[in-house]
């Protein structure tokens, strides 16, 4: 590395380095330290209070034999795929439409972004009412005359997770749209002109020129969406509290319930370690490709 030739590198920009010490310490102690502590105690049989009484992989064996955990994982996968695909597609399409220099762009942008101002708890409650068969959409349509109409995803075990995804999309796509719009505005006008001169149709320009140029925006968006997927908790609590039965449970809720309601820290830690592991499996190869390559180049 070229840096090593200058020994005073450590003292360069000293003020900035001192200023960042608190954050570095926070990151080390709270994030890294807390994570290591959690992983360590996931190998113990800690109940209400943390105790260093190692039981090997027992907590993990139990975890993967628990139907509720397996359902949670399955739900997270379905929810993840849906919210990833749909919020990217819908977000991008909305942004592209807004980018056509339409009138009242500000108004539309405000309308689309508005749900994002609500917390997941409020979103969940709103959609709980909308999807309630006795008060919500089903009732309205039936009152209009279609008496056999049935739409009650939150009360049907096999499709409840889709009902939750609808609420998540409604809340989240506005933000994705704004990010995409910012990305689109960053594309140089000349590129559009050049494409038009070459007679390339608009959809092709988007697909093969604009989208590849927006790679950094897409990566940022991806990280934001992915983080939202793994930590989904409050939406489920507000909408169904995991029901009917355990059909809409998610991993984060399993962690919370077992740590605090069941007073079984070991089991909760094991579950949260598995969540961390799944994030690592996604993040590490990507980070390696993204940052590892550049340093060498």
């Amino acid at each position: 590395m070229s840096n090593s030739e200058r020994p005073n590198q450590l003292f360069r920009n000293l003020n900035a380095k001192i200023a960042s010490i608190p954050m570095v310490l926070t990151a080390l102690v709270v994030f890294v330290g807390g994570t290591a502590w959690t992983v360590l105690y996931s190998f113990t049989n800690s109940k209400l209070l943390p105790r260093l009484n190692f039981v090997g992989l027992d907590q993990y064996h139990r975890l993967w034999a628990t139907p509720r955990w397996l359902i949670s994982i399955e739900n997270l996968l379905i929810y993840g795929v849906i919210s990833l695909v749909f919020s990217l597609v819908i977000g991008f399409v909305l942004a592209a439409l807004l980018d056509q220099k339409i009138r009242f762009e500000d108004t539309f942008r405000t309308i689309f972004l508005y749900p994002f101002a609500l917390s997941f708890i409020v979103t969940g409650l709103v959609w709980q009412w909308l999807l309630n068969p006795d008060f919500g959409i089903q009732r309205v349509v039936r009152d209009l005359g279609w008496t056999s109409f049935s739409f009650d995803p939150l009360y049907n075990s096999s499709i409840v997770i889709y009902g939750i995804s609808i609420a998540a999309l409604w809340q989240g796509t506005g933000l994705i749209m704004c990010l995409m719009l910012a990305g689109l505005r960053g594309i140089d006008e000349d590129i559009w002109k050049a494409a038009r001169v070459d007679g390339i149709p608009m959809w092709k320009t988007y697909l093969f020129i604009v989208i590849p140029m927006m790679r950094p925006v897409f990566i940022t968006t991806l990280v934001i969406i992915a983080a939202g997927i793994v930590k989904v908790y409050d939406l489920v609590v507000a909408q169904t509290s995991g029901g009917p039965g355990i059909a809409s449970e998610v991993p984060a809720k399993y962690v919370y319930d077992y740590m605090f309601f069941a007073q079984n820290l070991g089991q909760g830690f094991a579950a949260s370690t598995m969540m961390l592991l799944s994030v690592m499996i996604v993040i590490v190869p990507w980070a390696y490709l993204e940052f590892g390559g550049r340093r060498r180049g």
Binding site: K47, L48, L49, R62, T66, P67, R68, P133, D134, Y155, S157, S241, G242, G243, P244, G245, I246, A247, D257, Y258, F260, F261, A262, Q263, N264, Q267
Partner: protein, 412 residues
């Protein structure tokens, strides 16, 4: 600017220091009694404690026990203990006691002869860990009640059933009349509790103890328990049209005659009372589902965290004595709808259902409940299983029993 804030902070601390010793001792008491009837009952405790010259600082935590307990526990383990706190006696605070965070009340208990006045004796046993007493039981709540709407049976043209089996037999006729035969709310603990009640009622006390006390997994997988699961299967079929979540909404279905019955603890009685219904006339209660008239002695108790402050520790002793005072016991339990923990008090004002409970208690037909026998961990697993069982009609009885036996095998 910064200097000014600092001065203000100093001034505030000084003021507090001076104010402290002059006033009576404040004792913060945390609990999760926040519904109408419950709050009225707590007010009785506060009144009695204030009368001793101390001051009850109310630390009610809204939600349910499930919401409140994590907050209480993290305050105690986090070094910010309250003066006293409610738990269900049994195993919820077990580890806090073992970690030495709770105060040993044995001296006060011996002085006031708790072993003689508290009835049944099993209540005090649940407060005892390694021969020392750590909590003051304040009431007895039992789960094993079947609440029936007389109105619903009238509408269906049927006599009010005398036990669970008759209710099951009436189910098709009730459904034909547009009445839900059994109301079971969506909260997980309701399904799990209903199953335990069915086990105690259809299987009998010995079966119940063999499963939950001895944790006999082979027995739990056997034919005796298969019968209980058969009853649970009936219950789930009868309950399939209940579209409510909370227990009191389910009770409300019975109150309004939309549902015929509900398996719920005696706390449901408060709802009937608030709705202005009379026991015997508007609704019927069957302890032990009319099959096995035994009541469980779960309930509430107060625990006292170990405090450094001498004044507060003294106030804790006063509170412990106040809670068991006969006058406090009567005032509190009448409002709460629960049974008092001592037999030598006069409860003439009690209604029919409470009197049924008192009579069973007097006969000594009591049994411990799952709060006392199982850890929270096993309880939670059981809740997960039964909320799935009740919500998923295609889950077979055999599969559920197999999973139940596995939970009992790993239970602690």
């Amino acid at each position: 600017m910064r200097y000014k804030i600092l001065t203000a902070a100093f001034a505030a601390t000084v003021a507090l220091n001076f104010a402290g010793p002059a006033a009576a001792t404040d004792l913060e008491v945390t609990h999760w009694w926040t519904s109408g009837g419950e709050a009225a009952a707590v007010a009785e405790l506060a009144k009695a404690f204030d009368a001793t010259g101390n001051h009850w600082v109310d630390g009610a935590i809204a939600g349910s026990g499930g919401t409140a307990r994590p907050i209480m526990i993290s305050r105690i383990t986090g070094g910010d203990p309250m003066g006293a706190t409610q738990f269900n006696h049994g195993r919820q605070a077990e580890e806090l006691v073992q970690a030495g965070l709770m105060r040993d009340l044995t001296d006060i208990a011996t002085k006031d002869k708790w072993t003689e006045i508290v009835r049944p004796k099993s209540l005090l046993d649940s407060c005892t860990i390694d021969g020392k007493i750590y909590c003051v039981p304040v009431n007895i709540h039992s789960w094993q009640w079947l609440w029936l709407s007389n109105e619903a049976f009238q509408k269906a043209g049927l006599p009010v059933p005398k036990d669970w089996n008759e209710l099951v037999a009436d189910a098709p006729a009730l459904e034909k009349a547009g009445i839900i035969p059994l109301a079971v709310g969506g909260q997980a603990w309701q399904a799990s509790g209903a199953f335990d009640v069915l086990m105690a009622a259809t299987g009998g006390t010995d079966t119940f103890l063999k499963v939950y006390k001895d944790k006999d997994a082979t027995f739990a997988a056997g034919p005796e328990i298969a019968k209980v699961f058969k009853a649970a299967d009936d219950a789930r079929k009868m309950a399939k049209n209940t579209n409510v979540q909370d227990w009191n909404q389910a009770t409300n279905l019975v109150i309004t005659g939309k549902a015929a019955g509900q398996i719920m603890g005696d706390w449901a009685q408060g709802e009937f009372q608030v709705a202005g219904k009379t026991a015997g006339k508007d609704y019927t209660c069957l302890p032990g589902l009319g099959l096995n008239e035994v009541i469980a002695t779960g309930g509430d108790a107060f625990y006292f965290p170990l405090l450094k402050d001498a004044d507060k520790s003294k106030a804790q002793e006063v509170l412990a004595e106040t809670l068991l005072d006969p006058k406090t016991q009567v005032a509190f339990n009448l409002k709460k709808g629960s049974l008092p923990v001592r037999g030598d008090v006069d409860l003439n004002a009690a209604n029919d259902c409470m009197k049924k409970g008192l009579a069973i208690l007097a006969k000594g037909a009591v049994m411990p409940w799952t709060d006392q026998l199982l850890s929270q961990d096993s309880q939670k697993q059981k809740e997960d299983l039964f909320s799935e069982f009740f919500a998923k009609p295609d889950m077979t009885v055999e599969e559920a029993q197999k999973r139940f036996a596995a939970i009992i095998a790993s239970a602690d």
